[in-house]
């Protein structure tokens, strides 16, 4: 038996023996996820325990080096772990911006001291991170950001405002883009980390059209941050920001990929009924869903093909923009079809029958997919220029 096969068997046995039964139930909503952090309230003892034992093995971040709290697994082993978890229906023990975004950035650009300080806490779910990128006047044109960091000998003083900071009101630390020089647009930006409990930091949740507040406005008023918290060189933060945006695009682009969800056609047939031959009784909806499922199948295979091409060294980094664009548009289409299939029932906003309007709220929330992480229009600009080589601004 190959080493990988042995690893697969041992992994499966360990997961079967150790993953609590409750943590093998399908995730019903975003609140089922474990985000970790100083103030996180575990939904159950099983959730707490699952994070703890997976964290001890480094399997919350299986491919990170052991020295930084990871599992030290090879890419292939991490893929096996992932596949086995999916096969057994194990929930991810921890989800966080630390895992998806800051971690990769620190691994690539952080000092040894920064890695040792922050990565293990991300891996164990002790510190929850948020991302301070967008500003009221720096959205698509992110590099025009103006939050100012005055550089002193051993510290910086930060003043300004961020917006669309995901879960800033629940986060412990922030990774943030600040302007350390006004001489040049892109090369005057620094990437900096600081504690959200620092004096001068305040947050205000933003109520979205879904009625929920996953985002905040975040204000900095003379926030003092040690100089050693700058990641990479001073004024060289844009490189890291771009690197991270690629990760974010891949993540949002992958939204269409979900397990444990009832297929759309089945959901719609249950909602609107079938004719005598078993077909969905709304012919136009049936056709739209079929077209959606065809496009979704194509997207899933394109994600796979892009991965396969990248492993062969034939990938194009700008492909992540294409995937982000399409994944976001596809997810919006999914929820349009869901809300259409649900008809008037789907429009109930409160009460137990609608699970407090979950469908309507999720439908509305999905409209942000083509705005956050770079709008669809920006992604198409990137594809046009970086892949197609079209000229212009």
């Amino acid at each position: 038996m190959s080493e990988l096969e042995t690893f697969r068997r041992e992994t499966r046995a360990w997961l079967e023996a150790n993953c609590p039964a409750q943590m093998r139930q399908p995730v019903a909503s975003e609140s089922d996820a474990c985000w970790g952090g100083r103030h996180f309230k575990f939904q159950s003892e099983a959730q707490r325990r699952w994070l703890q034992i997976m964290g001890e093995r480094g399997w919350t971040v299986p491919a990170w080096p052991k020295a930084y709290g990871g599992g030290g697994l090879s890419k292939e082993e991490a893929a096996v772990l992932n596949a086995e978890m999916r096969a057994l229906g194990c929930r991810p023990p921890l989800v966080s911006f630390g895992i998806w975004m800051l971690g990769p950035a620190l691994l690539a650009h952080g000092t040894e001291e920064q890695k040792l300080e922050h990565l293990p806490k991300i891996a164990r779910g002790e510190i929850r991170w948020c991302q301070g990128y967008s500003e009221p006047n720096a959205g698509s044109d992110l590099a025009s950001l103006a939050t100012k960091a005055e550089v002193h000998d051993d510290h910086l003083i930060i003043n300004g405002q961020k917006i669309w900071t995901s879960y800033a009101d629940e986060a412990d630390w922030i990774f943030c883009l600040v302007r350390t020089s006004t001489a040049k647009k892109h090369t005057g930006i620094s990437f900096i980390l600081f504690d959200m409990e620092s004096p001068g930091v305040s947050t205000r949740p933003i109520v979205l059209i879904s009625g929920k507040s996953p985002f905040c406005e975040t204000f900095f008023d003379d926030v003092r941050v040690p100089r050693r918290n700058v990641v990479g060189e001073l004024n060289a933060g844009w490189t890291i920001a771009k690197y991270l945006l690629t990760h974010e695009r891949e993540m949002i682009g992958g939204i269409g990929e979900r397990s444990n969800v009832k297929p759309l056609g089945e959901f719609a047939a249950d909602a609107v009924g079938r004719d005598a031959s078993g077909r969905l009784s709304e012919a136009s909806l049936r056709a739209q869903i079929a077209r959606f499922e065809i496009d979704e199948a194509a997207f899933r295979l394109l994600l796979q093909a892009s991965g396969d091409r990248a492993r062969r060294g034939e990938g194009n980094p700008a492909m992540s923009s294409a995937l982000k664009f399409y994944g976001a548009e596809l997810n919006k289409r999914r929820w349009e079809l869901m809300i259409s299939a649900a008809g008037a029932d789907g429009l109930e906003w409160e009460g137990e029958r609608s699970n407090e309007g979950t469908l309507a709220r999720t439908w509305l929330r999905s409209k942000g997919n083509s705005i956050e992480g770079g709008t669809s229009e920006i992604q198409l600009n990137v594809v046009a220029k970086r892949i197609l080589g079209l000229p212009g601004v």
Partner: protein, 374 residues
Amino acid sequence: MALVLNEEQGMLRDSVKAFLSERAPVAHLRKLRDSRDALGFDRQLWRQFADQGYSAILVPEAQGGLGLGAVEAGIIAEALGRTLTPWPFLSTAVLAARTLARAGSPAQQTELLPKIAAADVVIAYAVDEASKHRPAAIAAKAARDGSGWRLDGAKTFVLDGHVADRFIVAARTSDLGLTLLLVDPRAAGVQIERTLMVDAHNAARLRFDGVRIGADAVLGKADAAGAVLDEVLDLGRAVIAAQLLGLADAVFELTLAYLKERRQFDRAIGEFQALQHRAAELYIDIELTRALVLGALQAVDENPAKAALLVAQAKAHACTTADRAVQEGVQMHGGIGMTDEFDIGLYMKRARTLQELLGDAGFHADRVAAMNGY
């Protein structure tokens, strides 16, 4: 299995692409069309193509073929889609070859498969009877007649029908049962009308009036051709999807080059965001089709249980993408895109034909819905 071509497949793609762009580019089709060529294709060139082994892909090794699969047949079709080369590849080297390999008697295989590999025979596949592809509604009828059969009915959109040495005809032989018959075009009661098509590729209408057919002309078992036909049609659909992909690719290359070269308002028109975004969306559609088509071709070879769904998805997607590619192609070329002199119109015409062939996007979306249980 990785969703990328392996090394041999990559070499096959490069070699067939080079062969076709050198010997049978779009100009070749144009010349056949303008000269109203009686055959509609160049037999010598087609034999040279076969000399490279390209016609032998799906012919088993025992009959002198290469014994390769749908992925390789798709690679050839993709290249043919790029150059619009009007050879009897789909009819003969794909549909007929796979039918014979699956259902043919040893005598039928020995007679015909080596000739397919060598491009010594054209075999036309007669399935459709109405303007839309509806294989479930086949009405051409073959009745028992002594030890053989008597065939009555009509077929339409029969590719290469007027140049065929043999037809494979799908006929109803009982209420539920279909039978595939090898029919000689010279038999009494066969009428053949060449139909000149918008894409300048070969097609014909056939009529059978009491055509007598020997018992040895049945392919496989009488009344039980449904499964073979389904399998062969799906192979054909996947291969046509690959051809549409090649076509979309070629149109997109032409269009992209034009966006960079054509200047208006003192700049390349490709600088305008209105065009950039449409080009980017089209590019993404083509990449989606590429992944789905390869997935479908691989499933035909390796995963028959999933093949029907993937093929339906791939054919539908390829139809939509190629359609978008040619619409945008003509529009972005502006006035020159409307001229016969420029190639883009030939692509638009061919895309329309390939969309109809063996089921358009609507037909296959309906199949997807049915297979997914709604």
